[in-house]
């Protein structure tokens, strides 16, 4: 591993980390799990030369439920999140989304913050967090801010963070009673293969009526795509398979997929027409208490 000519910083607090990052600007990168960063530095794709390790910064790995929110520290590893009792109880679909990612070695090292901040279109944790209404806590050299996860992504590998800012926490409202979530993903293999297309869905029911619905698409647009038309279609209606199939057609039309080595744009649209109803059916079953 040749992270050429990098200086390694090990700040002991968030303030220190932000200050160092602010000082070095585009030359600096925060090091979380390193599963993206070390490869990018090694290949020369990323030319930063100041590594700012977050390993000693306190309190960034916590996972807990507080004040009606599932709070996940940005430095929590994917496997810590997937096995956290609070996550398994409050949002099992997040665990399922995580278990589709990489292999055990990657999940034991990679962090959820790194997954957000690298901002690749096929990242697996943001879609469900966005669908569940997550907010992100951000701290920078000039202060802190909070923002909806849906507003975090600007383009492939681009986020709203400035160079001194650290994503510190992901806060997901604990899903209320009679709600359900699902993450449906297609990849060319089970394990160690990124998504060709994926759909996150969160539904809330009141008796036989959908009262809120959010569908977010992954790997089919420059950023995770919250499909407002699906919400418009679903809210106020009965949760039946025909309606969900219609939502699939809408999702396929809303997507802006590209053709790459994993699949053509047409294939991705076809996938959305299948994955969207699947996600909605599972979310509805969970909301009704019919599925685990």
């Amino acid at each position: 591993m040749a992270c050429r000519n990098t200086t390694y910083h090990r700040p002991q607090s968030i303030a220190e980390a932000c200050q160092i990052a602010g000082e070095y600007g585009i030359r600096g990168r925060f090091l979380a799990g390193g599963t993206e960063l070390l490869i990018d530095l090694d290949s020369g794709r990323d030319r930063a030369d100041q590594l700012i390790s977050l390993r000693d910064v306190p309190d960034l790995c916590e996972i807990r439920i507080e004040a009606g929110e599932l709070r996940i520290g940005a430095l929590a590893t994917l496997s810590a999140i997937a096995t956290a009792p609070d996550v398994v109880r409050a949002l099992p679909a997040l665990r399922e989304a995580i278990l589709t990612m990489g292999g055990q070695q990657i999940r034991n090292r990679a962090t959820i913050g790194g997954n957000f901040c690298r901002a690749v279109p096929c990242a697996d944790t943001p879609p469900l967090c966005i669908a569940a209404g997550a907010r992100l806590e951000i701290v920078g050299a000039t202060g802190a801010r909070t923002l909806p996860a849906a507003d975090f992504f600007v383009g492939p590998r681009q986020t709203v963070l400035d160079r001194s800012e650290i994503l510190t926490e992901i806060r997901i409202p604990v899903p209320p009673a009679h709600s359900g979530a699902s993450y449906q993903r297609f990849s060319l293999r089970h394990g160690m293969a990124v998504a060709v297309a994926a759909v996150a869905a969160v539904l809330q029911l009141d008796g036989d009526e959908i009262t809120s619905a959010r569908v977010v698409l992954s790997a089919v647009a420059p950023v995770p795509l919250l499909v407002g038309e699906c919400t418009d279609l679903l809210v106020g209606r009965k949760p039946v398979p025909d309606l969900f199939a219609e939502a699939g057609t809408i999702a396929a039309a809303a997507a802006q997929p590209i053709t790459d080595l994993r699949g053509s744009a047409e294939f991705r649209r076809e996938l959305l027409a299948v994955l969207t109803p699947r996600a909605l059916n599972e979310a509805a079953a969970r909301a009704k208490g019919e599925a685990a």
Binding site: M1, C3, T7, H9, I20, C61, Q105, N108
Partner: protein, 237 residues
Amino acid sequence: MTADRDSSQENGGGSGLPSGAGETHGVGRTNRDDEPNQTGMSRRGFLKTVGLGTAAVATVAGTSAPAAEPAVAITPEEMAKITLVVNDRQRRLLVEPRWSLLFVLREKLGLNAAKEGCERGECGACTVLIDEQPRYACLTLAVEAEGHRITTLEGLMQGEELGDVQHAFAEHDGLQCGFCTPGQIVAAEGLLRANAAVTLDEIRTGLSGNLCRCGAYPNIFRAVEHAAQRRQTGGKS
């Protein structure tokens, strides 16, 4: 990549900390600063930098851990004094900030079981346990591994005897050329430590981070299945 690796050896290897220099056994000689806290993360900034050069290297053997300082920075021209806990022994080392744990294990500590395959987190040949969990040593900087417990395949031996997963691989021919085998065994060990009651499907997806170019998968999975059964029945079957 290779050319760069070679020059790094000139710098680091040339100033030559003999592998194992200054090592002590894990029990007994511990330093409070070096101890992981409850979360397994070492919180103190006890990194100490050392400029490249013989004088600095000569001081290494007798040092005690320096006091914590705020935000240590190590430049590419400097080396860091770190202590790694590898297979229950403390190993004190000088490392360049960019060195991977894999490089340090193989080239500085002479622990050659973990293999260098892809060096980009895809093949699993370099798998080691860090705090009981399988991780890629190629995707871990040595400085970042400070304060964590590292177990390599060598550490799974029971004295001169093979460990149980190793035994199962031998019994079931879980290999052909053997290059991927240390990684497969350590990954399987991590999987079974987390949960010995695994199904065949869980073994297959659990080991998806380990590739075998020889395609010995059926026998690898059978070996791990057998090792899992033995653990559940307390060594019998």
